[in-house]
């Protein structure tokens, strides 16, 4: 069942066409990635979805209803963790619930049981500066998940991590996702990450962004932590080709 449907969406920012005739859809429980070169308008797409921008043309529907500034369909995880340095981890995690108007004590009680699965047990009362980069990203993801929105928007969530931590986090996210099947739209420029995590991948062109390819990833899960299958290797090569024709240099 389709949760998110974008049809022929175009966006112009400051006289520059950023998104050109984008049509995509995400089904319930599906993990969809948008893969594109840097600066291809992937982040603008998220700003459209979170209501920070409105499209010039086209429609965005969530569960069949047009997206309005009041429809809170998305929980957003930014590229850098954006944890508030003055709030303890638990109070960072409940931020979205507090904004929704939930009482602080109630929100804390609700998120506390999730700390163990997110590898944050014992760090509830720590400040963000006391946590490693990987733990901070997990806290940011937990803050996203507890908002209990229909769709999770992840904007290059591991882009700021070192390679080793990133690999660990991708494996961890794959496990978590297999257990929970959050409907997820991931933006990334990491081909391997997209292939490892996604059910489907849309490839964006350079600005103005068009969708130049769509790939199904049928590989069995879990995919991380074992050798790449011949299919996955071929898919990665195809994706690289599709991307490289776009860089123009």
């Amino acid at each position: 069942m389709t949760v998110l449907a974008m049809d022929n969406v175009s966006l112009t920012l400051g006289g520059t066409r950023v998104l050109d005739d984008i049509s995509l859809h995400v089904a319930r429980g599906e993990f969809v990635s948008i893969l594109g070169p840097s600066g291809s308008g992937k982040s603008s797409l998220f700003r459209l979805l979170t209501g920070a921008l409105t499209p010039d043309r086209g429609s965005i529907r969530v569960d069949g209803a047009p997206l309005s500034s009041r429809s809170r369909a998305f929980a957003f995880m930014p590229q850098r963790d954006a944890l508030m340095p003055w709030r303890r981890i638990i109070d960072n995690v409940i931020l979205g619930l507090e904004v929704q108007g939930m009482d602080r004590a109630e929100a804390r009680a609700r998120v506390l049981p999730l700390f163990a699965t997110f590898g944050l047990e014992g760090f509830e009362r720590h400040y963000p500066a006391q946590l490693s980069g990987g733990m901070r990203q997990r806290a940011a993801l937990l803050r996203t998940i507890v908002q209990d929105r229909p769709i999770q928007l992840l904007d290059e969530p591991f882009g700021a991590l070192d390679a080793l931590t990133r690999a660990g986090m991708q494996g961890w996210l794959e496990q978590r996702w297999q257990a929970a099947h959050w409907t997820t739209l991931l933006v990334t420029h990491d081909v391997r990450e997209a292939v490892a995590l996604s059910d489907r991948i849309y490839v964006f062109s350079r600005r103005p962004a068009r969708i130049i390819a769509e790939f199904e990833v049928a590989e069995p899960r879990p995919r991380l932590g074992r050798p790449l299958s011949a299919n996955a290797v071929r898919l990665e090569a195809e994706l690289f080709d599709a991307l490289l024709t776009q860089t123009g240099d």
Binding site: T50, A52, F76, A82, V99, Q100, H126, Y127, A129, Q130
Partner: protein, 262 residues
């Protein structure tokens, strides 16, 4: 962490030792110079004589410290309230910044020597002119600290709150105001020291009591020892207020002292 004093109280005491030594050395040099040169105490009294004057005149000095402290604190409280109210307005209506800031900058160019007598002329010898002069001196630094502090908010945090459906007011309360706190305390520590000086100057120009009056009277009766005694008290007052601001910062910004990643 590097940006705040850390370690045990004993370790901090050791850190403070060089400062104590240099102050003692300066006082000792002063004392010896007065002894050896035989200079008249009417020109340069020795530190020991100033200390003696503080003890002898303690009732007078205390009676005049209270009004100065009162003027400083009420002036500063007034200044803070106005600065906060205006910072709110400017944050929510950015156009106001361009309209108001030039006026405030000009207010900071007015020489206190000229303004103080006028304010006393208009508002008399009571508390009002002192409050106004303390506010004139401290208001602008506090306003700039707050407005710049709001501007320092991480745009990612604002965007995140927006994606959560937070209103402009909620974003202010949860992100912009806390982000401004380090700036606020930096401004507070600086402004509070100006505040004492401004209060004493206002008294000097016209008042019934206060350290400014003690200094004025001591000057007129050729008593540099008593003058310096009042100066010592006013410095102690400033240091105490500075210390109180630092303590408040220590309490409010506790998160900045949390350790780094293990």
């Amino acid at each position: 962490m590097a940006h705040s004093p850390s370690g045990s109280p004993a370790a901090r005491l050791v850190q403070g030792l060089p400062a104590v030594f240099s102050v003692i050395a300066a006082l000792a040099a002063w004392e010896v110079y007065v002894l050896v040169s035989g200079i008249s105490p009417l020109v340069l009294p020795a530190p020991s004589r100033v200390a003696e004057q503080i003890v002898v005149n303690r009732d007078l000095l205390w009676a005049n410290t209270v009004p100065t402290l009162q003027a400083t604190l009420s002036g500063f409280a007034f200044s803070l309230s106005v600065a906060f109210a205006l910072s709110l307005l400017i944050d929510f209506i950015p156009k106001l910044r361009r309209a108001l800031f030039p006026v405030f900058v000009i207010s900071q160019t007015l020489p206190l020597v000229a303004i103080a007598p006028l304010v006393v002329l208009w508002f008399g010898f009571g508390l009002t002119p002192k409050i106004l002069l303390v506010a004139l001196v401290t208001f602008f630094p506090m306003l700039v600290a707050l407005v710049d502090g709001y501007e320092s908010t991480d745009p990612d945090i604002s965007a995140l709150l927006k994606s959560m459906g937070a209103s402009r007011a909620a974003i202010f309360r949860r992100a912009r105001l806390p982000s401004a706190m380090p700036y606020f305390f930096a401004g507070l520590r600086i402004s509070i020291t100006y505040a004492v000086v401004a209060a004493i100057f206002a008294e000097y120009v016209g008042a019934r009591a206060g350290l400014g009056i003690v200094i004025l009277n001591a000057k007129n009766s050729f008593r540099p020892d008593l003058m310096l005694a009042a100066v010592v008290i006013s410095s102690a007052l400033t240091l105490a207020l500075f210390g109180a601001s630092a303590l408040l910062q220590h309490l409010v910004l506790g998160w900045r002292r949390a350790g780094v990643a293990p």
